[in-house]
Amino acid sequence: MIVPLPVFVAIPLATAFLLPIFGKKGKSVATVLANLATISLLVLSVASVGQSRVYEIGKWSIPLGINLVLDGLSSLLLLAISVVSAAAMFFSVRYMEQYTAKSKYLSLFMLMVAGMNGVVLSGDIFNLFVFLEIASLASYALVAFGCGHEELEAAFKYMVLGSIGSIFILFAVALVYGNTGSLNMAYIGKAIQSAGLNKGLTFALGLFIVGFGLKAALMPFHAWLPDAHPSAPAPISAMLSGVIIKALGVYALARIVFNVFGVSIPIGWLLIALGLLSMVAGAFLAIGQWDLKRLLAYSSISQIGYVVLGIGLGGLIIAKDGNIAWASLAMLGGLFHLINHAVYKSLLFLTSGSIQMSTGTRQLKEMGGLAGKLPVTRASCTVASASIAGIPPFSGFWSKLILVIAAVQAHFYWIAAIIVFVSLCTLIMYLKVQRYVFLGELPENLQDIKEHRGSMLISMLLLTCLCVLMGLLLLVPALRESILEPAAKVLVDGVSYSANVIGM
């Protein structure tokens, strides 16, 4: 089925502006509409898997007009965004009843989805910046949605760092326009290939890395994430950790670095260093946390490190003219980890929301023995923990295995060792979660809690099934060739992106 590309932005955007009309009385209508929108986006993104084409907005041919590009990498991200947003939206049906102004929440949620879909489809760097701001502004407002002390503090911190990141990106866009005379990624790539990098463009590349690094919460730029992600309502934490940091940060970084500027050895090493730093420091900081959602947030930093490490390793191998097969294996591992992390980390945040709604606390020391009280939550949390720690046959194992194989084949034995070591740290932190939340003695004040039923359970169970089945994406050749390999190929092909887009 040929899906017109603007639909991916138009559906959530139209829904977002339609929903506030319903106000308090039409809350259930608004909820149904929002769910229909996310589910139809899921169907459309599944239908457009494996396709690649260019859409010129308003029939203005490039480079005059703005174009949307769908290729392997975009459709992988679209799939991740629509899976996580459908699950989080369905979870919110029940969970967001605790808050007032539900239709405003739904509206901001759809705005965020529209922004992310726009970022992954855009083929024009200024358009990418605009969609990035739409998604970021919606997410700042959603972090502050509870309007409590902590929410406001976290949202301000997030907003200041996020705005600085956005301004860096805008500055870089201006520099790129000044140096190449184009805003279209394909034409910028062509200009850079023919003229090479001058000082202005190198500075712009640095600004892009800092700006997208801030959005992706890579290690030196991570300060906002451990505050912002726990403060948001649970479905929004799932969206923020699951897809926002990947769509706005890692995807955009990879697209600009690999497809527009072209990867070089220093950039490869820089990405590897950022990835390793985030992995190790995020894991160490996570182990020491006693707030459940804060622990999950630090673990997100650690896991995003794996993705950047995989992409950077592939880039380094390409820049050194190494074996392309190893490079694409590293990229495949990174991207597979990206989509795995989207599923299991959003599941973990949803279970934390279910626990918080039942017990009224997020502190690990105040919980215990919940296994009998919250059986479904417990089961899904255990599956997600096993996935993130990399226990076979769950999804996280396969992506980490690929990363280790790629690192060993490229003779980076120490990187493979660090990957395994951080994996052990991850296992420790999730054993801690299991031990303090579900095992041990039930405290007096939690004797008569019960699990919330309905939509929350269904969306957790759906994501749990996905966690178990994700390994099939790699093991079944047909699925791998239609989803993962085209995505890795986009990054491996690098700057020939521009020729592909102009030719399409």
Partner: protein, 122 residues
């Protein structure tokens, strides 16, 4: 020279946003950064003594239907102006959100000093 001054303005904004302790001053710092970038974009397209990039009949070469070469070499670039308009609208939106966050935070904590607004640690 002008570009250096523009960059200086950007750095002043960044310094203000990073170092100041008052929430409103941080917001002002971010705005100064945004204005510096907007100024930079405008300067990219500017030409001293340039003309507005609007084509009318006098600039058309009537024989060939092409735009006259001296118009092309003297008109300013209109694209950065369009970009700046978009960027200004976006920064307006984010400014409104930032200020409303400041007001709500002031209502809760009774202060704008970020060293006293520290419930989240670790």
């Amino acid at each position: 020279m002008l570009y250096a001054l523009c960059f200086l303005l950007f750095m002043i904004g960044l310094y203000c946003a990073v170092v100041k302790k008052n929430m409103v001053k941080i917001v002002i710092g971010i705005l100064v950064m945004e204005y510096a970038v907007n100024l930079f974009l405008i300067m990219l397209g500017y030409r001293s003594g340039g003309v507005a990039p609007i084509v009318d009949k006098s600039q058309m070469d009537l024989g060939t239907g092409q735009i006259a070469a001296d118009f092309l070499s003297s008109s300013v670039d209109p694209l950065p102006q369009a970009l700046v308009l978009t960027a200004i609208v976006i920064s307006l939106g984010s400014l409104a959100l930032m200020i409303s966050l400041c007001i709500r935070t002031y209502e809760k904590y009774g202060t704008f000093d970020i060293t006293q607004i520290r419930r989240l640690k670790g």
